[in-house]
């Protein structure tokens, strides 16, 4: 089999299976997610088992990956190289958590639930995409500004 075709089939199958997993687990029921997050209220610990099950399987994939130089259908692994823990990471994660607690949706379950045709979910997903877009544009703008300041030639002073 051609490796590009294999890659595409893998992506489709992985997305489909990921979606089934989210549906089976209860993550596509926002009230259940909110109950899980309500540790001091009507706490529903089920979602702890979702994370436990997923990590329990996925650690073995990384164990395999450590001994390999490439995946089955591509020439290299594309793993995040960044290791620095900075304010951007913490601020981003904080904002995400607030949004997750407010709506009961994180990105995966929101996308999976779209075919149910719920109008308030469409609004959530549209706002999420807008949030990603605006943040990405602001980040590029800020980094360009910073670079301009760094390379801006110093005018010789007259004094």
């Amino acid at each position: 089999m051609n490796s590009r075709l294999a890659q595409r089939l893998t992506a489709l199958l992985s997305g489909g299976l990921f979606g089934v997993g989210l549906l089976v687990s209860g993550m596509t029921q926002p009230q259940k997610v909110i109950d899980f997050l309500d540790v001091f209220g009507q706490f529903d610990a089920s979602l702890m088992f979702v994370m436990g099950g997923a990590i329990g399987v996925h650690v073995f994939a990384y164990r395999w990956q450590k001994h390999r130089t490439q995946p089955l259908f591509d020439r290299q692994f594309y793993l995040p190289a960044r290791t620095v823990i900075d304010s951007k990471l913490v601020l981003g994660a904080s904002l995400f958590g607030v949004g997750w607690g407010l709506g009961g949706y994180c990105p995966g379950p929101a996308v999976v639930s779209l075919p149910a045709g719920n109008v308030t979910l469409f609004a959530f997903v549209f706002a999420m995409l807008a949030g990603m877009f605006i943040t990405a544009k602001l980040e590029t703008l800020l980094s360009q500004r910073k670079q301009q300041l760094l390379v801006a030639p110093h005018e010789p002073s007259e004094s």
């Binding site: 890659q7 992506a11 992985s14 997305g15 299976l17 990921f18 979606g19 997993g21 549906l23 687990s25 926002p30 009230q31 997050l37 309500d38 001091f40 610990a45 089920s46 979602l47 702890m48 088992f49 979702v50 099950g53 997923a54 990590i55 996925h58 994939a61 490439q70 995946p71 259908f73 591509d74 692994f77 594309y78 793993l79 995040p80 290791t83 823990i85 990471l89 981003g92 994660a93 904002l95 958590g97 949004g99 997750w100 607690g101 407010l102 709506g103 009961g104 994180c106 990105p107 996308v111 075919p115 149910a116 308030t120 609004a123 959530f124 706002a127 995409l129 949030g131 990603m132 605006i134």
Partner: protein, 141 residues
């Protein structure tokens, strides 16, 4: 405890783990959904087709569920304005922090990434705090 369903939660989690492993072993990529969606939206470098097909798979699963198990998808108890604000926070936060529940919480923790651990603890805490404050303010606007 309330509506406790550890069996289906564990089974669903295992399926998520298998799905993420498939993407890593086959294509060498992280199954981080916020990254895949925002990469698609903003045309980040890297494979367009792979991201689009992954999202298509997610949507296909949701579509199948509306036919086979409609009870598995519920709507949020929150109002429209709250959900719009929630969406903006989720979009901005996942882009700024490079990940969500899948990328940091499942994939990152599985590879023992310190960044993912810090991110996961942070978003869990702020999410729990948000739900608590919401409840204290009188429930469901």
């Amino acid at each position: 405890m309330h509506n406790f369903t550890p069996g289906s939660a564990l089974l669903g989690g295992v399926l998520i783990g298998v799905a993420a492993s498939l993407l890593l072993v086959g294509n060498g990529r992280i199954a981080g959904i916020s990254g895949i969606v925002s990469g698609l939206l903003l045309g980040d470098r890297g494979q367009f087709a792979g991201r689009a097909l992954f999202v298509l798979g997610l949507l296909a699963a949701g579509f199948a569920a509306t036919r086979l198990a409609p009870g598995s998808i519920a709507s949020s108890p929150r109002s429209l304005p709250t959900l719009i604000i929630a969406g903006l926070f989720v979009g901005a936060g996942t882009r700024l922090g490079n990940g969500c529940t899948s990328g940091h919480g499942v994939c990152g923790l599985s590879r023992f990434s310190a960044r993912a651990l810090v991110a996961t603890i942070t978003f869990m805490l702020t999410a729990m705090l948000t739900v608590r404050v919401f409840t204290l303010l009188g429930g469901v606007p």
